[in-house]
């Protein structure tokens, strides 16, 4: 029987369709967390140690800059993934992540997940593929924003 947390992990798109024992594997590194509106999930420059699987609420990825105030680079919602810097040395956050609505999420311990991925390369490869798909989506969105797709009717 999957534990409650394993069921929640399996229900998140990042881990959807994985075998039950893999969900258990991830669940072993996971716990439920909640943030109030305004609270930081993590802060720029801090140690990146957690993968957040958002279940509800909204999170802003932002940067604070003197004079310019807060620059929001993306908003993330239920079923999105927050944070991938825990996967890559030097494991530091590049942005602030702030809950702008009450947030419910599964926090997956980064070091724990890396250890399991190292121990089971098949799982590790699957994990990296799925995270890369998320990163690719964000990259494409960023490119579209750079292209300023709302501005003109150009065809190419």
């Amino acid at each position: 029987m999957p534990t409650t947390i394993a069921a929640l992990v399996a229900a998140h798109p990042l881990f959807a369709g994985l075998p039950a024992d893999t969900a258990e594997l991830v669940a072993g590194c996971s716990h439920n967390v909640a943030f109030d509106a305004g609270e930081l999930l993590f802060a720029e420059g801090g140690p990146a140690d957690t993968l957040y699987l958002l279940r509800r609420g909204r999170v802003e990825l932002e940067l604070s800059s003197p004079g310019a105030g807060t620059l929001v680079v993306a908003t993330l919602e239920a079923n999105d993934v927050v944070g991938w810097s825990w996967l890559f040395p030097p494991y530091r956050w590049h942005f602030d992540a702030r809950a702008v609505q009450p947030v419910g999420a599964i926090a997956v311990d980064g070091a724990c997940l890396r250890a399991k991925a190292d121990a089971e390369p098949a799982f590790g490869y699957e994990l990296v593929k799925r995270l890369t798909a998320v990163i690719l989506d964000r990259l494409q969105s960023t490119r579209l924003a750079l292209l300023d797709i709302y501005s003109k009717g150009e065809t190419s």
């Binding site: 003109k152 009717g153 150009e154 065809t155």
Partner: protein, 406 residues
């Protein structure tokens, strides 16, 4: 939409229209002599038409007002090849021994420049006056149009008439017009109406069709057929005799000679689909290296229908919307805020050619090309649409390199 197809409405009941197979026989033709042609011009003038026809002007055979048969280009021939047109005079007695000149009947039903409307805005109101078409009192009779030109008017009927819900000015001019087609005996080096099924025999779309016969021992004469009620009425006013077997045989021989002396051939088998699947063909880059994007082909084409409008106002507060021909070779043609959609010559030539031979079918269920050859003759660098299509057919499926040919 019956009201928007005046030409069809004029046909004799049971006579061919543009959906029926063309009727090209001359079973019930009347034979006119040169005096008959003289009378024809007089009858048309008497009926109130502004009579236009071919005349020699500035080294070309173009349409102009005719006051008598003396104005016709009797004895003139034309020699045409890609990028070249010249006329020469001989002692030939024929009036119509040439192919086509740079002007087509298009300009009579769709002038190069016109006024869509005039108006005055004052006291919070707009007072409109009519544009050009409404004030033109006299309908036009065009004598000496070619079968390919009658076909081109049929194409314009679909474009500017039926399918586009009807350009009112075009419809008005078209409604009143009288068309005398003269079948082609002397196609030029750039003609390919036989490939397009629009000539050299006149199939439909005319009020009167003439075949000029000379030099066969039967004397200089014309076989005349009516293609509409009003055409029959006019024909009945002309002095003539019923055609006999020798007349008909002479016409058949003349048309056969014409068919086999076309300067160009276009293989139309599966042509729309061929071009539709070859929009990335490298040939478009090659032709773009030669094409000057001057738009001559669109100006001389008897079916090119693009127009643009410009609003103007004078100091007295009179507003005018002016309409003029435009060309898909103009950069401004495809302008969308931010710039032209088709900026390169490649894109513009491709648009023109694929529209004529392929997407015209999608839009208007007919070819946009009637095979008159004008675009070949009047292209300053002699680009030949039949050769371009043949080149694509020879290497169907070729695709240009990723960089394209700039």
């Amino acid at each position: 939409m019956g009201a928007s197809s005046p030409w069809k409405a004029q046909h004799i009941a049971g006579a061919p229209n543009d959906t029926a197979p063309a009727r090209t026989d001359a079973a019930d033709a009347t034979v006119l002599d040169v005096e008959g042609l003289v009378t024809l011009l007089e009858v048309l003038a008497r009926r109130g038409y502004r009579v236009l026809g071919p005349r020699v002007r500035d080294g070309a055979i173009v349409h102009g007002e005719l006051s008598s048969v003396a104005d016709l280009p009797r004895g003139w021939h034309d020699a045409q090849s890609p990028g070249s047109y010249r006329i020469e005079h001989t002692d030939d007695e024929a009036f119509f021994a040439w192919a086509v000149g740079p002007s087509s009947p298009k300009r009579e039903v769709f002038p190069a420049r016109s006024v869509a409307w005039r108006g005055r805005v004052s006291e919070g109101e707009v007072a409109f006056e009519d544009g050009d078409a409404a004030s033109e009192q006299r309908p036009t009779a065009l004598v000496g149009a070619r079968p390919c030109e009658a076909a081109a008017l049929g194409v314009l009927d679909r474009v500017l008439g039926d399918r586009g819900a009807g350009d009112p000015h075009f419809l008005k001019r078209r409604e009143g017009a009288f068309l005398v087609v003269v079948e082609c005996a002397t196609p030029s080096g750039t003609c390919f109406c036989d490939s397009m099924g629009t000539g050299p025999a006149a199939g439909n779309g005319f009020d009167l069709a003439l075949t000029e016969l000379a030099g066969d021992g039967g004397g200089h004469r014309f076989l005349a057929r009516a293609g509409s009620e009003i055409g029959a009425e006019v024909l009945s006013c002309l002095p003539g005799r019923p055609a006999d077997e020798a007349d008909r045989a002479a016409r058949t021989a003349l048309l056969e000679r014409a068919r086999t002396s076309m300067g160009r051939v276009l293989d139309t088998a599966g042509l729309p689909a061929l071009l539709a699947r070859n929009v990335e063909h490298p040939r478009f880059d090659e032709v773009a290296e030669r094409c000057l994007a001057c738009g001559n082909c669109t100006l001389v084409c008897p079916t090119c229908f693009c127009s643009t409008v410009e609003d103007a106002s004078d100091v007295a507060g009179v507003l005018e919307r002016r309409r003029s021909w435009s060309s898909c070779f103009d950069l401004a043609h495809s302008y969308l805020h931010g710039g032209p959609v088709r900026a390169s010559t490649m894109s513009r030539y491709r648009q023109w050619m694929t529209h004529k031979l392929s997407t015209w079918w999608d839009q208007f269920e007919t070819s946009g090309c009637v095979g008159c050859g004008r675009c070949i003759t009047w292209c300053p660098v002699g680009i030949d649409i039949t050769e371009e299509a043949a080149a694509i057919r020879r290497s169907d499926g070729a695709r240009r390199g990723r960089r394209g040919g700039r």
